[in-house]
Assembly symmetry: C2
Homo-oligomer: 353 residues x 2
DNA sequence: TTGATCACCGAAACCGGTTTCGGTTAGCGT
DNA sequence: ACGCTAACCGAAACCGGTTTCGGTGATCAA
């Protein structure tokens, strides 16, 4: 349908080979001819058929983003921004961005295998890996360049970009400890997700270095949603000795926690402190505005794109690893623990206001 | 790199033509041979090179989603869900989904032209069209199949999927009028966006049929963001005779409105009513929970995909038009106007609680 | 004037598939 | 035994580009 190279060639009285080399700036085509060809090309609106071109040059010039697919859950909020960044970097090279929903089911992994073997894509970006992610195993086995948005248990071998959840949660706990909290709980996401494990580990680290109370029931596993956060909060508030502060695996879960706290007639930030994680824009409108560990997800897409292109260009994936830090955004849900807190068999010394 | 058809053929002692027809189920290849080829194919992990295959069959089997690019603004929240739905429908046909950020600048439109002419894509899905959208003009000129997510001024000629903003805003106004409001304001998004115009028209329609006060300064144009909503609200609250209710072009703007109202020491839903638009999940966590006109965006991606495929298959685009309705989700920001409202020259009769 | 050199372009192979066309073989009836 | 048909597969053209290789004409020095 589009104007083809042959058409352009006959129109100019040249052969296709000559036209091709002219357009690609080969030095064995005279400047005059090159100019003439170029002029005619964009006068007729000629564009090389990409399927033909890529078949010929032997690379698909395309990268695929694997959209996380949790059954039932909605698409994570960072996906859109990430795609925007990715598409920007790729566009600079005139590469294409493909998106595919590929979960971790056997069918999905099989689909991914077919995708890779069909020479459609030169590399893959993968978000939210599981601890032992079959997709990563496949990518390595098939020798397909990729970069992981997040990390897994053994992430030394490949390229990744991540925000340090361990550090962030340790910092959140320390912040609360500094405010005077001694009984801090964690509302955790399902641990099959590596990021959830990291955040939980960071929490535990923070509890240890601050010598806080550690009780098994101060760690609640919950669904990765606001409903999950709400349910977990209710469990925590029902404890005989409830914690005075919650740290949550995500802002969404933290919002659920706020709802549970308000439902008890308590006010978040005064009676119970809550710290979320993500830094979603929306947190500022929560009731009250949500204190959170914000991740710098502005440039994530661009960085991931750059790293993947480097790997495709032959860079050692182990040189393409980048860990960014989250930072505390204080709003209104963190504060010192209430004075009137019920004392129990455990001796608690309040050290701050 | 991947195992090629020729390799498979020589491995089997057949020719490439035979292998190709065997895999594609041609009746002139014996069942026995077909089985043998298929078995060998997936034992060796053979997958047809898609560039070659598509070059040969003459269709790119790929659809492109044009991600809205507003400079400065973030990616709209519906994009991720929409992509998920789109990719689902396309996957059923083994088609690919490309995403590109293409705004309305001259450069971007030029990029789109190149994209289409390069035979990379068989169709386009386009979100958030402007009133006079150069991208749509281009798509029609180049005869490229497309479906618009939203509508434009003259949308009779092509395929689209939209939620009836006009109806929604008229309904929102009527709802407020029924609650007793007579002075209702609209916080509008920039009118170069067709959706903003529709919503404003719907608002005006609602004002008319309910015979409400109409004042020019009850329509505030603002940036399409929470900050914009907040600024517009402050203007409205500063009016000598401020409105008792706001309808907002988006939930995000409505959240800004809530912030402005609370900052005045007023409580949304009691002193001033606010109705948003979109139905973002987050609204339930707003302060107080946001009443909104929710769009049914669950299946939007799938519907858009289906419609586009129909058009590509030759259906008349004008038969592929679908208008869905938004519905009111009452939460806590709507209520009757305050009794103590300052009466002015206009006689106001309160008819409800 | 002639032979060598260089600039420039045409011809053709190739990328990896699909599809048309034609030829071989087997099976069948007579 | 012979011809006919159907079943089955090989050969080759084609999709639209890229790239190698070789040939022509002009230019230059001797």
């Amino acid at each position: 349908m589009a104007v083809t190279q042959r058409a352009l060639a006959t129109h100019l009285g040249l052969t296709v080979g000559t036209v091709s080399r002219a357009l690609n700036g080969y030095p064995d085509i005279s400047e005059a001819t090159q100019a003439r060809v170029r002029e005619a090309a964009d006068r007729l609106g000629y564009r090389a058929n990409q399927n033909a071109r890529r078949l010929s040059i032997g690379t698909p010039e395309t990268v695929c983003y694997l959209m996380p697919r949790q059954t039932g859950a909605h698409v994570p909020p960072f996906v859109a921004e990430l795609l925007a960044g990715l598409s920007d970097t790729l566009a600079e090279r005139n590469w294409d961005l493909l998106v595919a929903q590929v979960g971790v089911s056997e069918d999905d992994v099989d689909t991914l295998a077919k995708l890779i073997r069909s020479d459609r894509i030169a590399g893959v970006v993968l978000s939210r890996p599981l601890k032992h992610d079959p997709r990563i195993a496949l990518l390595m086995e098939l020798n397909c360049p990729f970069v992981v948005h997040g990390r897994t248990a053994a992430s030394d071998a490949y390229a990744w970009f991540d925000v340090d959840g361990h550090d962030a949660f340790a910092a959140a706990v320390t912040h609360l400890a500094t405010l005077g909290h001694r009984r801090i709980a964690m509302i955790s996401a399902p641990l099959e997700n590596e990021f959830a494990q990291q955040r939980l580990d960071g929490f535990r680290h923070g509890v240890r270095v601050n010598a806080l109370e550690t009780r098994a029931d101060y760690v609640q596993q919950a669904e990765f949603s606001d409903a999950g956060g709400q349910a977990a909060s209710e469990m925590l508030l029902d404890l005989p000795v409830p914690p005075t502060a919650f740290v949550c695996a995500s802002d969404e879960m933290a919002l659920g926690a706020l709802a549970a706290i308000r439902a008890r007639g308590l006010v978040p930030g005064r009676d119970v402190s809550v710290i979320g994680y993500d830094g979603v824009h929306f947190g500022v409108h929560a009731n009250p505005p949500l204190t959170t560990m914000a991740q710098p997800q502005a440039g994530a897409g661009r960085r991931l794109g750059d790293m993947l292109l480097s790997v495709i260009d032959g860079a050692d994936p182990r040189t393409q690893q980048e860990l960014q830090r989250a930072h505390l955004v204080r709003r209104k849900t963190d504060g010192p623990p209430p004075k009137s807190v019920a004392m129990t068999d455990v001796s608690v010394r309040e050290e701050t206001t």
